[in-house]
Symmetry: C2
Amino acid sequence: MAKPSKENSPITEHLAYLLAQANREINRQLELRLSKEGVPVEQWRILKVLSDGNGHSMGELAGAVLLNHPTLTKMIDRMVSDTLVYRVQDPNDRRKVLMFISDRGKVLCKKLNSLAVDQEEHILESYGDKSTSELKRLLESLIDSSN
Amino acid sequence: MAKPSKENSPITEHLAYLLAQANREINRQLELRLSKEGVPVEQWRILKVLSDGNGHSMGELAGAVLLNHPTLTKMIDRMVSDTLVYRVQDPNDRRKVLMFISDRGKVLCKKLNSLAVDQEEHILESYGDKSTSELKRLLESLIDSSN
DNA sequence: TTGAAAATATTGAATATTCAAGAATTGAAG
DNA sequence: CTTCAATTCTTGAATATTCAATATTTTCAA
């Protein structure tokens, strides 16, 4: 009898595929909410990271918001035009640029946060409290184990 | 005393962010393996879906491999140039195009499958059998509950 | 049967992302 | 000190993706 082999297993059983599918779906829902303010998900992430009021370098930001460096530069250019954030040269290391959130950025960020909370609550309802926190735990540990 | 509010929670605690991060990491690893054959992840998915030998319409494929329609068309154009797949007009509904995998495509798909299995095994080792299957179960159910 | 609406796939222009190279600054070895 | 390698960010060209419009075929109501 044939040994059960993974080589023929349908793509829908692969972890990589399930992650892509779930990510796509949740992201789509979030995008839909944030589009009420005309803001892409990445910009919300940027604002959220900067909303601690501290300066964050481009490299740091790129890692935090899951964008590569040149893409981030260009997105930040747009956000600077929209006066949501601003650049300051790091006085301690002039290779670096420190990004700060503006007052306008803070106001927008608050609105976006509440839209995002709406979504999380919607997930909690349809998916369940228990499952959600368990899923988060497992994802964190997967990310950990991948470094 | 302050009511604990989600509005200030760091971005790293949002389900959408954890999914994006995990997806990014696992996808990066898979990309790295498949790059040995010079094939992007999406093309492997396409080959895998087509490897049942049946014809699949573009719309069906687009859904299955998580690409939107025009992007898929252009990727298929490249794969046709590489003689990995070919188009046949659906005789029953001539609006549709049925995609088939070629012999060359099948050979490549086998190699890619084994590279992908390598990765899944690597995950099983570092992350654990139990966690992996539990994570898959939760992801499937999240995807279900989102429809 | 006919004609309007829906479904399917492709195309081209607009937009976004990525890769490779460049500019500026720092670190550190000799 | 001086110089060379490493770090950080930006830029421009190449590539890829997306949006809107188009072409073709089917469906279905009148």
